[in-house]
């Protein structure tokens, strides 16, 4: 038979337990502190990386603002060039008269002799249909800007029928408008008699 006797003083045992507990707590706090320290280090690195990205963004935005400035300059240059091109192309004028006079000589009926044609200086008008300058309807939706040139024709016709035929033909020709008979008088012509006539017309400059 044996008996166990604890010879270690009680105070020592208590101090050892306290020491273990303190060490445990220290380990917990130290581990926590270490984790936070690692986190803090990571955060500093992340913050640095963030600064780098911000710097990149600033660079990109700077480049973008340069490109936008170039775009603005290019847009200005383009509108300047478009303006120049418009000026250049608009200096090309409609040339209707050769074709128009050729057509006129083709359609003049037999028995009509035109002795003079006077084409006057015109002016711009807004027209909405084939008979332009009269009435307020010129502001219609299909109204367009035209340059009208007055034309005066004089000549002789064998009879009134030929003259009326010519009048009708002229009214049908594209570009001719407001064809009006000013005078038609029967009188002597060379060895016989003929109707001396005078016509007033308007022509649209840009329609052949």
């Amino acid at each position: 038979m044996s008996a166990g006797v604890n010879l270690v003083p009680h105070a020592f045992l208590r101090a050892r337990r306290r020491s273990r507990r303190r060490n445990a707590w220290l380990a917990v706090v130290a581990a926590t502190a270490f984790l936070f320290l690692m986190g803090w280090g990571g955060q500093r690195l992340a913050a640095h990386a963030l600064h780098t990205v911000e710097y990149q963004v600033e660079n990109i935005e700077q480049q973008r603002s340069d490109v936008q400035r170039q775009l603005l300059m290019a847009a200005g240059r383009r509108s300047e060039l478009v303006d120049q091109l418009r000026t250049v192309t608009e200096s090309r004028r409609p040339q209707p008269w050769a074709q128009r006079l050729t057509t006129l000589t083709d359609v003049v009926p037999a028995g009509v002799l035109i002795t003079s044609i006077d084409i006057g200086t015109g002016g711009r008008v807004v027209v909405g249909n084939r008979r332009p300058p009269r009435g307020p309807a010129n502001t219609a939706a299909n109204a367009t800007d035209h340059n009208l040139q007055p034309v005066q024709m004089r000549g002789h016709a064998l009879d009134h029928g030929a003259l009326i035929q010519m009048l009708n033909t002229l009214q049908q020709l594209p570009g001719w408008t407001q064809v009006e008979l000013v005078r038609a008088t029967l009188g002597p012509f060379r060895t016989g008699a003929a109707v001396a006539f005078e016509l007033d017309c308007q022509t649209l400059e840009d329609v052949q």
Partner: protein, 188 residues
């Protein structure tokens, strides 16, 4: 000594441990977690800005390239068109050209009177009054050739009058053309 007495004696250590832990948590929140959250939020905003800026830059560069190609084409068009349009310094050559065509078309010119040049908006204009004689067919031929050679002019007025008491096809001719010229300094 009972167990509860022992626990009470270790409470000061627990209290200090808990205090240290709480201090660590507070410091950790202040030094680590809050900055991390802030950094993360900033990063998301910056990443979004970078994506937008990159996409915008790409679009703008593409737009600029397209613009520059268009500009080159436009400049070529302006240059080639401007070369064709007479300039203010070319009045005399235009007059020579007109009289040469008139003579080719068998018109007899009696007078050619260029008027002083004047500014008309973006153009310099010069009216040229001409008197001559010839058949109406020749005159129409002249108008056609002149229009083809120099479309940058307009017939201002014209008078074709058959010679009185004559069987000749010749007519008295008088006309004025307005030459549209580009002002000096607009050469392509």
């Amino acid at each position: 000594m009972t167990r509860s007495t022992q626990t009470r004696r270790n409470a000061d250590i627990d209290l200090m441990g808990l205090g240290g832990g709480a201090l660590c948590l507070i410091l950790g929140w202040w030094l680590v977690v809050a900055p991390w959250m802030s950094t993360w939020s900033d990063y998301r905003a910056v990443a979004l800005r970078r994506a937008e800026a990159s996409a915008g830059l790409r679009d703008d560069v593409h737009e600029l390239e397209r613009f520059q190609v268009g500009l080159v084409q436009l400049e070529d068009a302006v240059t080639s068109q401007s070369d064709a349009v007479p300039h203010a310094t070319s009045t005399s050559s235009l007059l020579r050209e007109m009289t040469a065509i008139a003579e080719d078309c068998s018109l007899k010119l009696l007078s050619v009177a260029p008027q002083p040049a004047a500014n008309d908006g973006k153009y310099v204009v010069t009216d040229v009054q001409v008197a001559g004689r010839g058949s109406s067919h020749d005159f129409i031929r002249f108008l056609d050739r002149f229009a083809q050679q120099n479309p940058y002019q307009a017939l201002r007025f014209c008078s074709i009058t058959r010679l009185p008491d004559s069987d000749s096809p010749d007519c008295e001719l008088a006309w004025a053309v307005r030459l549209y010229l580009l002002p000096p300094g607009t050469e392509g």
